[in-house]
């Protein structure tokens, strides 16, 4: 059969190179991420790609995102934040729970909400989404 397909190479030495590269890059990346040193980080709340609120996480309180009706409710405790109530379909952002590290974020895809933490002295974004939610 005249076949335009590709010859199957079960294993070639190049495979080892690729495997090592794909192990090395993420480990290097993750080991070099910044750590929070301040006891009072700031939670940045972005909506539709725009930074809307910077909330200091210094005391226990509720914060309402009144862009929606019913509003999305954020629960703030010292050093951490979570989405307490959101009427999005899958509720995964709610189930994400509290985030308290700079590499964690809460993301709600349907409402395009991103919440991440930064140190008060950070002037650029150094955190990563912990969960993308639907």
């Amino acid at each position: 059969m005249n076949n335009p397909g590709t010859n199957i190479r079960f294993f070639r030495p190049g495979d080892i190179f690729v495997f090592l590269l794909i192990i090395f890059i993420p480990l290097y990346w993750l080991s070099n991420r910044p750590q929070l040193t301040s006891p009072a980080p700031i939670a940045c709340v972005e909506i539709q790609g725009h930074l809307k609120y910077e909330l200091p996480l210094n005391q226990r309180r509720l914060f309402y995102l009144n862009e929606w009706n019913p509003p999305v409710v954020l629960e703030i405790r010292p050093g951490k934040i979570r989405i307490l109530h959101n009427d999005c379909a899958k509720q995964i952002c709610v189930h994400t729970g509290f985030i308290d590290q700079p590499y964690q974020s809460i993301v709600c895809v349907p409402k395009k909400i991103v919440i991440y933490l930064k140190h008060a002295s950070m002037d650029s974004i150094h955190s990563a989404p912990h969960v993308i939610t639907g």
């Binding site: 899958k90 989404p129 639907g134």
Partner: protein, 171 residues
């Protein structure tokens, strides 16, 4: 198994692969995931098989059709999830074609790089369409590590199927 007219064999085989990919795509949509955005990418098996059986263009066709049809069945057609799947699927095929064309790598590396390109494609489109926030790129290392596991898994099962197909159809 052989079809009476060889002229239609390729169409029949690719249709079967699209159906396989679509079933795996739908099946996977119902599997609970420990982390929401992490999928095994079982449907990529059909693309990988098409790539080795009938070449790059067929792999691209299988990938696009199974995402289109699968999303229609799951009900995610034209939703953000659909565009993420489509961009990831196309990026994965392009990555795998590059790897195969380099003639330096086996199916294991091809599959793993496909998974890495899938993640990169999804993040890029996720950034453009959904989040507009560069922090999304920080997901990439985790997705790469996960892709290493899932890509190896996909390569293993694709290899088993390809060996059977090779015996059956002598390609």
């Amino acid at each position: 198994m052989s079809l009476p007219d060889k002229k239609y064999q390729k169409e029949a085989h690719l249709s079967a692969l699209i159906a396989l990919g679509m079933i795996l795509f739908i099946f996977e949509a119902f599997i609970p995931r420990p982390i929401p955005w992490l999928k095994l990418g079982l449907a990529n098996m059909a693309t990988l098989i098409a790539l080795y059986w009938y070449g790059p263009l067929s792999a691209l066709l299988v990938s696009v059709y199974r995402i289109l049809l699968g999303s229609l069945f799951v009900g995610t057609f034209l939703t953000p999830g659909f565009f993420l799947s489509l961009s990831g699927g196309i990026a994965a095929v392009l990555g795998m074609i590059l790897m195969v064309r380099a003639h330096l790598f086996g199916i294991w590396a091809v599959s793993v790089v496909g998974a890495a390109f899938h993640s990169a494609g999804q993040l890029f489109v996720g950034y453009l369409l959904l989040l507009h926030n560069p922090i999304i790129i920080q997901l990439f290392p985790i997705m790469l590590l996960y892709g290493l596991v899932s890509g190896t898994f996909i390569a293993y099962f694709s290899l088993l199927i390809l060996q059977r197909l090779k015996k059956e159809f002598a390609f």
